[in-house]
C-alpha cells in the first residue's frame, strides 16, 4: 500500500444547451464571428439589466432530480466581483450561499467492478465569461464576448475521489448524465464541458486533508488524468523532500505534460460575493419541480440495470452500452430486429462496430452504419445463411460500401452450404486426397478430426455449415 493517499474534488462546468444566454436574449451557437452574439446586456452596457432564462432553471432542476439532490425552493443569484477584460460587468452572476441544487450523489463503477458513490456538494447556475484573443493581434488583446453570459451549471463534488482514474470515471459519468438529460451537448473541444480539479495528498490513514492545489480548466478526460497524476507526483515529491504544498491555482500544460503555478492564495481575488439586487430570488414550488421530474428520461443507471435484467448482459457490458443515449438507442434498435439474440447484438455493437467507428474516428450517431443494417447482418447469422466468421467479412464490405448485408452475401457468393449432399461430396474428395491421415484417424488418432474440418472449410471457402459439417464428417470418417 502506498504511503500517500490522494484526495480529489472536481468542479465541473457544463454549458447548458439553452438557445439563448442565461440573462439575455443573445443566441448561444458556437463559432460565430467575434462579438456577433453579444448584445448590450452581454457587453455590460450602462443601464441594462439581467433577466433570468427560465429554461436554464428547468435544466438545473433536471440535473438536481437526476442526482437525487435537494432542489432548493429558494435560491439566490450573487455577484462574484473581479476585474478581467473578458468579464464585461466587472462581476460574474453566479450562486453562492444558496445554490439551486444541493447534496446529491453519483455512482461510478471502479476498475475492480465495485460501485462507489460520489457525493455532490452542490450544483449552481452561473454565467460564463468571454474570451481574450491573442492570435493574429500583435501588441493588443482582442475580446470576444460571444460566450459571455452563456448559461453554465457548475457541479461541485465532495473531495471523495481517490485517484486520477476515479476522477475520470466520475467526470465521464457526469458527462453521460448531462447528455442523457439533454441539458449539455458535452462537446469538450468547444469547451461545453470542462472541469477544475482540487488535488491534495495526505499520509495514508491521516484524517486531515493536505493543502490543495486547484488545476484550472481541464477540457479532456485524458488531460484530467494526466494533470492529476502529474500533480499528485509533484506534491508527494515536494512533501517527501521536506517541502510544503502551497495553496494555489495551477494550469496544466498539455504539451509539456506538467502543471504550472498561476497564482497563489495571497494573490487570489477577494470576490466580495453579495446577493445580486438586480435579480429576484428563484422560487420553485413543488408542482414545478414535479413537472420537471415528469420530463426526465430513463437515466443511465436505470437503463443499465434494465439491460442487465432484460437482455442478460453483464454489468460491464450494460455499462458500456448505456454510456451514451445514442449508443443505447442503437443497441436497442438492433435487439428489436433480433430479439432472441441480445448477447450477439451486444458483442457486435461493442466489438466490430465500436472498432470500426474508432478506426474511422466516427461517432455512433454518424449514420455510417444504421442499426437496421447491422441487424440485417445479424439476422443472417441467426438463420444460418452465413457463419459468424463470414459475417465479419460481410461487415467489412458493408462498412466500406455502405450497403446492406444480403446483396453482399449474394454477390460474393458467401451463402453458407447447408445442402448435405454438397458437403458430403466435398468430404469424399478430401478423404480421397488424404488417405494417410484417414488411416491414422481410423487407427485412433482423434485429433486429426480438426484437420479434416479445416480441409473441408478450405475447399468450400469457409461456407460449409459448421454444425452440419461436424455431423457428416463424423459419420463418414468412422466409415
Amino acid at each position: 500500500m502506498s504511503a500517500w493517499e490522494t484526495v480529489i474534488g472536481l468542479e465541473i462546468h457544463a454549458q447548458l444547451a439553452t438557445r439563448s444566454k442565461i440573462f439575455s436574449g443573445s443566441a448561444t451557437a458556437y463559432g460565430a464571428p467575434p462579438n456577433a452574439q453579444a448584445n448590450l446586456v452581454d457587453l455590460g452596457y450602462p443601464g441594462v439589466l439581467p433577466v433570468l432564462n427560465a429554461e436554464a432553471v428547468r435544466m438545473a432542476v433536471k440535473l438536481g432530480l437526476a442526482i437525487n439532490a435537494q432542489v432548493a425552493p429558494h435560491s439566490v443569484f450573487a455577484r462574484k466581483n473581479y476585474f478581467y477584460p473578458d468579464l464585461p460587468k466587472g462581476y460574474q452572476i453566479s450562486q453562492y450561499e444558496l445554490p439551486i441544487v444541493a447534496k446529491g450523489a453519483i455512482d461510478i463503477v471502479l476498475e475492480d467492478g465495485t460501485v462507489k458513490r460520489v457525493g455532490i456538494t452542490r450544483a449552481h447556475l452561473e454565467e460564463d465569461a468571454g474570451k481574450s484573443l491573442h492570435e493574429g493581434l500583435p501588441g493588443v488583446t482582442g475580446i470576444d464576448l460571444n460566450r459571455a453570459g452563456t448559461a453554465l451549471v457548475e457541479i461541485v463534488s465532495e473531495p471523495e475521489l481517490r485517484s486520477a482514474k476515479e476522477a475520470v470515471a466520475y467526470m465521464k459519468k457526469v458527462h453521460t448524465l448531462v447528455r442523457y438529460l439533454g441539458i449539455c451537448d458535452g462537446n469538450m473541444q468547444e469547451g461545453s464541458f470542462r472541469c477544475d480539479a482540487n488535488v491534495s495528498v495526505r499520509r495514508s490513514g491521516s484524517e486531515k486533508f493536505g493543502t490543495r492545489a486547484e488545476i484550472k480548466n481541464l477540457n479532456s478526460f485524458r488531460f484530467v488524468e494526466r494533470a492529476i497524476n502529474y500533480e499528485v507526483e509533484r506534491q508527494i515529491e515536494l512533501l517527501e523532500s521536506g517541502g510544503q504544498v502551497v495553496q494555489e491555482t495551477r494550469l496544466y500544460d498539455p504539451d509539456k505534460g506538467e502543471t504550472r503555478s498561476m497564482r497563489s492564495k495571497e494573490e487570489a481575488n477577494d470576490y466580495r460575493y453579495f446577493p445580486d439586487p438586480d435579480l429576484l430570488p428563484v422560487a420553485l414550488d413543488a408542482a414545478f419541480i414535479e413537472s420537471v421530474r415528469a420530463t426526465l428520461p430513463e437515466l443511465p443507471d436505470q437503463k443499465a440495470a434494465r439491460f442487465s435484467r432484460d437482455y442478460g448482459l453483464s454489468p460491464y457490458d450494460a455499462g458500456v452500452l448505456t454510456a451514451s443515449r445514442e449508443l443505447a438507442d442503437y443497441y436497442e434498435a438492433v435487439v428489436a430486429a433480433v430479439p432472441k439474440e441480445p448477447k450477439l447484438a451486444a458483442n457486435w455493437v461493442m466489438g466490430e462496430l465500436a472498432a470500426a467507428l474508432n478506426r474511422d474516428n466516427l461517432e455512433i450517431g454518424s449514420g455510417k452504419l444504421p442499426a437496421p443494417r447491422l441487424a440485417g447482418l445479424l439476422a443472417r447469422i441467426v438463420d444460418q445463411t452465413i457463419s459468424g466468421k463470414i459475417a465479419k467479412e460481410v461487415f467489412e464490405a458493408m462498412w466500406a460500401q455502405g450497403a446492406d448485408a444480403d446483396p453482399i452475401i449474394e454477390s460474393k457468393g458467401l451463402r453458407q452450404i447447408t445442402d448435405s449432399g454438397a458437403i458430403e461430396r466435398v468430404i469424399d474428395e478430401v478423404m480421397v486426397k488424404n488417405p494417410g491421415q484417414l488411416a491414422e484417424y481410423r487407427a485412433g488418432k482423434d485429433k486429426l478430426f480438426g484437420f479434416f474440418v479445416g480441409q473441408v472449410m478450405k475447399a468450400t471457402g469457409g461456407k460449409a455449415n459448421p454444425a452440419q459439417l461436424n455431423e457428416l464428417l463424423k459419420k463418414k470418417l468412422s466409415g
Partner: protein, 487 residues
C-alpha cells in the same frame, strides 16, 4: 404667449390639443429659457435643440391631424442618467463624457410614446452620488432661488430646471432622497415611486436595490400625469412589478376627509430647523382643516437609516460601477502600459472624489472578514426599518414629516465633511430602504427659501400620496411660487 412657461403640464397638454399654441412655439420658448439661464444655473449637461424642434414640428402635424397621446408636444427634460439613444448620457461623470447611448431607457421610451418631447439632459451629482449637485463633472447646478446656494441633489439639474420654469416637468431618480430633497430645496413637487413601479431598464445604476425613478414638476397633478405615463411593468427589469398602473390623474380628487396621517416622531428631532418645522406644522394644520386625522407614530429603527444606507448603497455601487473599466465604453486613459495601468488610470481619471469614496467604502464592507459585520448587519437593520414602516401603515394611511432638516445651503458649505452632507438625507433615506412611494411638496418659505413637506405612503399607494399632495396644493399656493428672476 409669454406666459407659456407658467403653465402646468396638464394645461400645456390641453392647450396644445386645443391648438391655442404650437409645440414648436412652446419648445422654442423653453429652449430660449434654457439657453438664457444656462450660465447662471448650469441645469443642463446637454440640450438637444435640433432634435426637440424636429419632434415638436412632428407633434404639431400629429395634433393638426387630430392624433397624439396624452403628452403630445409637451417638453420635458431627462436626468442625465436615463439612457437616450443617440444622445450623450454622462451621469455627470467624466467617465461617461463621451458615452452616447445606443438605446433608450424604458422611461425615456414611454414618455416619448406618450408624446413628450425631450429638450435635453439635466445636470446631476456624479452617478447620482451627492446631495448638492456639487459632485458633477460639469460643475455645480445653482439654486434658482439664490445662486449662491445648492439646488440639492442628485437630481439637482431637473429640480432647478423645473423651479426656474425652463421645462414644465422633468424625470429624476431617487436612491436616498435624490428627487425629494432637491424638490424641497427648489420649491417644487417631487415624486418617487414604489420600488418596482417604474422600470430601471436604461437607468444607469447607482444602488440597484434602492434606485427608483420619479418625477419633478411644480404640482402633484403634473407629477401624477407624468408618472402615469412612466410607470408599469417591464420584462427587461426583473425587479419591476407586474401590477396595473392606476390612473393617478383620475385619483387626484379622492376625498381627503378621514385620511389618517401619521406624524413621524423621529423626524421632528433636534437636527430640524425650527422655522422649517413651523412650516411643516402649518401644512399639517391645513390637512386637519380638510378633515384629516393626525396621530403621532414612532419608527424606532428609522434613526439607523443613514448608517444602513451608507453601507448598502456603496456596496452595490462598488459592484455596479465596476463595468466602467475603460475597455468597452467610457473614458480610457491615454497609452496604457498594461492592463492594470489601463484600469487604474481610466478609473482614476474618470471618477470624481465622491464616487471613489463610495466605491472604496463599498469594496471595504463587502470584503472577506467585514461582510458579516457591515453588509449583512445593515441588511438586517434594513429589514427592521421595513417592518417599522409596515407596522405604521397598519395604523395610518400616510406618514408625514419634513423632507430635509434645513432649507438650501451654500455651495461649498458641506463639501469638506461628507458626513454632514450625508445627514441632509436623514429624513428621505427611510423610504428608499423600505421601497416606499414618497413625495415632497412645497409647504412654505424660511428666509425666502422654500421648504418641503414629505408624504410617504404604503407600497404601490402612489395614488394616495399624490392625492394627499394635491389636496394641500388646492388649499395653498406654495407650489405656484416662482423665483423672481424666472417669473
Amino acid at each position: 404667449m409669454s406666459d407659456l412657461h407658467r403653465q402646468s403640464v396638464t394645461q400645456l397638454a390641453l392647450g396644445l390639443r386645443a391648438r391655442r399654441f404650437s409645440s414648436v412655439e412652446l419648445v422654442g420658448a423653453c429652449l430660449a429659457r434654457i439657453e438664457a439661464s444656462q450660465a447662471a444655473l448650469n441645469a443642463f449637461v446637454t440640450v438637444t435643440r435640433e432634435q426637440a424642434l424636429a419632434a415638436a414640428a412632428q407633434a404639431d402635424r400629429l395634433l393638426a391631424a387630430g392624433g397624439g397621446g396624452p403628452l403630445t408636444g409637451v417638453p420635458i427634460a431627462h436626468k442625465d442618467l436615463f439612457c437616450t439613444r443617440g444622445v450623450r448620457t454622462s451621469c455627470g461623470s467624466r467617465m461617461l463624457d463621451n458615452f452616447v447611448s445606443p438605446y433608450d431607457a424604458t422611461v425615456v421610451a414611454k414618455l416619448q410614446a406618450a408624446g413628450a418631447i425631450s429638450l435635453g439632459k439635466t445636470n446631476m451629482d456624479e452617478f447620482a452620488m451627492g446631495s448638492s449637485n456639487e459632485t458633477s463633472f460639469y460643475g455645480p447646478v445653482r439654486n434658482p432661488w439664490n445662486p449662491a446656494l445648492v439646488p440639492g441633489g442628485s437630481s439637482g439639474g431637473s429640480a432647478a430646471a423645473v423651479a426656474a420654469r425652463l421645462v414644465p416637468g422633468a424625470t429624476g431618480t431617487d436612491t436616498g432622497g435624490s428627487i425629494r430633497q432637491p424638490a424641497a430645496l427648489c420649491g417644487i413637487t417631487g415624486m418617487k415611486a414604489t420600488y418596482g413601479r417604474v422600470s430601471r431598464h436604461g437607468m444607469v445604476a447607482f444602488a440597484s436595490s434602492l434606485d427608483q425613478a420619479g418625477t419633478l414638476a411644480p404640482s402633484a397633478a403634473d407629477c401624477a400625469l407624468l408618472l402615469r405615463e412612466m410607470a408599469g411593468f417591464d420584462e427587461r427589469d426583473s425587479t419591476s412589478v407586474d401590477t396595473p398602473v392606476p390612473d393617478y390623474v383620475a385619483a387626484l380628487e379622492q376625498p381627503l376627509a378621514g385620511l389618517k396621517i401619521g406624524l413621524l416622531r423621529e423626524f421632528f428631532d433636534t437636527g430640524l430647523d425650527p422655522e422649517y418645522e413651523r412650516c411643516v406644522r402649518e401644512a399639517l394644520k391645513v390637512y386637519v382643516g380638510l378633515g384629516a386625522k393626525l396621530t403621532e407614530v414612532s419608527l424606532p429603527s428609522l434613526p439607523l437609516s443613514v448608517p444602513v444606507y451608507y453601507v448598502v448603497a456603496p456596496a452595490e455601487c462598488s459592484s455596479n460601477l465596476a463595468r466602467f473599466d475603460g475597455v468597452r465604453f467610457g473614458h480610457r486613459c491615454e497609452n496604457p502600459r498594461d492592463l492594470t495601468d489601463l484600469y487604474r488610470r481610466s478609473r482614476g481619471e474618470g471618477f470624481g472624489a465622491e464616487v471613489k469614496r463610495r466605491v472604496m467604502t463599498g469594496t471595504y464592507v463587502l470584503s472577506a472578514g467585514y461582510y458579516d459585520a457591515y453588509y449583512l448587519k445593515a441588511q438586517r437593520v434594513r429589514a427592521l426599518i421595513n417592518a417599522d414602516f409596515i407596522r405604521a401603515f397598519k395604523e395610518v394611511d400616510v406618514l408625514m414629516g419634513p423632507t430635509t432638516p434645513t432649507p438650501a445651503f451654500a455651495l461649498g458649505a458641506k463639501t469638506a465633511d461628507p458626513i454632514t452632507m450625508y445627514l441632509n438625507d436623514i429624513y428621505t433615506i427611510g423610504a428608499n430602504l423600505a421601497g416606499l412611494p414618497a413625495a415632497s411638496v412645497p409647504c412654505g418659505f424660511v428666509q425666502d427659501l422654500p421648504v418641503g413637506l414629505q408624504i410617504v405612503g404604503p407600497h404601490f399607494a402612489e395614488a394616495r400620496v399624490l392625492s394627499a399632495a394635491h389636496a394641500l396644493q388646492r388649499a395653498t399656493d406654495w407650489h405656484t411660487r416662482v423665483p423672481e428672476a424666472y417669473a
